[in-house]
């Protein structure tokens, strides 16, 4: 029976972070949607407007954090979902690698974009 489980258990951490990020995302995502669809309408978005918003450090940092948490939450969510569907062994490792790379790329590109919006690039 004992060989059924290993003492190293990463499950809990992932689960926990998924919840923490979710809690954070509720607030930021609501804010984001509200700001860009109701306060400013999406069809009115211009580079100027975006640049102005991004100039605000608080807004900039929030968006970067938003990006990072969303990327983590989304990718971790997908990963967990796949593992729950019985992903195992080598394929599991491969999926993890791909997903990690994708999310790192996403975050990197996102930050690059955000910096560009601030006019820092």
């Amino acid at each position: 029976m004992a060989e059924r489980y290993s003492s190293f258990t990463p499950g809990g951490t992932g689960w926990f972070l998924q919840r923490i990020t979710a809690a954070f995302l509720v607030v930021v995502l609501a804010f984001h949607f509200f700001l860009l669809h109701f306060v400013n309408h999406a069809y009115e978005v211009t580079f100027m407007g975006t640049q102005t918003r991004m100039q605000n450090v608080g807004y900039f940092l929030t968006m970067v954090l938003f990006l990072i948490t969303a990327a983590f939450h989304g990718v971790n969510g997908v990963y967990n979902a796949l593992v729950n569907q019985g992903l195992e062994g080598g394929r599991k490792k491969a999926v993890l690698a791909v997903l990690t790379l994708a999310s790192v790329a996403l975050v990197a590109q996102g930050i690059y974009v955000a910096l560009a919006m601030r006019g820092m690039i």
Binding site: L67, V75, M117
Partner: protein, 143 residues
């Protein structure tokens, strides 16, 4: 043991009519989660036009010279299909948020008796918010 009969996968998902609230919530949450992460990737891709935009690149739209970023966004926004998809995205996001909150409550062990009701509430609220947002989303677009 002697032979036995495995009713297989058909048994598992052929039974969707008998699924209970919690199962539907799970399926919907999954679905919306995947849509959202998919959208996040696209979103960043679209926003990437701001890199060129920041370098002052412009493009001609209807005889007007516009920043590439502005042009891309407004061009997309001008499409009815995109507006419809946006409404869909809103629905997806709202459901994911509401049900996400429901799940957070469940994780904290709060209001477990009402888990099915809170799922139905999430559905109804999502519907209501989506419908209510249609005017905002569809202003200034022609088919």
């Amino acid at each position: 043991m002697s032979q036995s009969y495995n009713r297989g996968l058909v048994e598992d998902f052929g039974r969707w009519k008998e699924f209970s609230a919690g199962m539907w919530a799970w399926i919907f949450h999954k679905f919306t989660g995947w849509v959202l992460i998919g959208y996040l990737f696209t979103h960043i891709a679209v926003l990437s036009t701001s890199i060129d935009g920041a370098q002052g690149k412009t493009t001609m739209v209807g005889g007007e010279e516009l920043n590439v970023y502005t042009a891309t966004l407004q061009g997309l926004e001008g499409l009815f299909l995109i507006r419809l998809l946006e409404v869909g995205l809103l629905a997806v996001a709202v459901f994911h948020i509401l049900n996400g909150l429901r799940l957070l409550m469940v994780d904290l062990g709060v209001g477990l008796e009402a888990q099915d009701k809170s799922f139905y509430a999430s559905l109804i609220l999502t519907g209501a918010i989506t419908v209510a947002s249609v005017p905002t989303f569809l202003t200034g677009v022609t088919i």
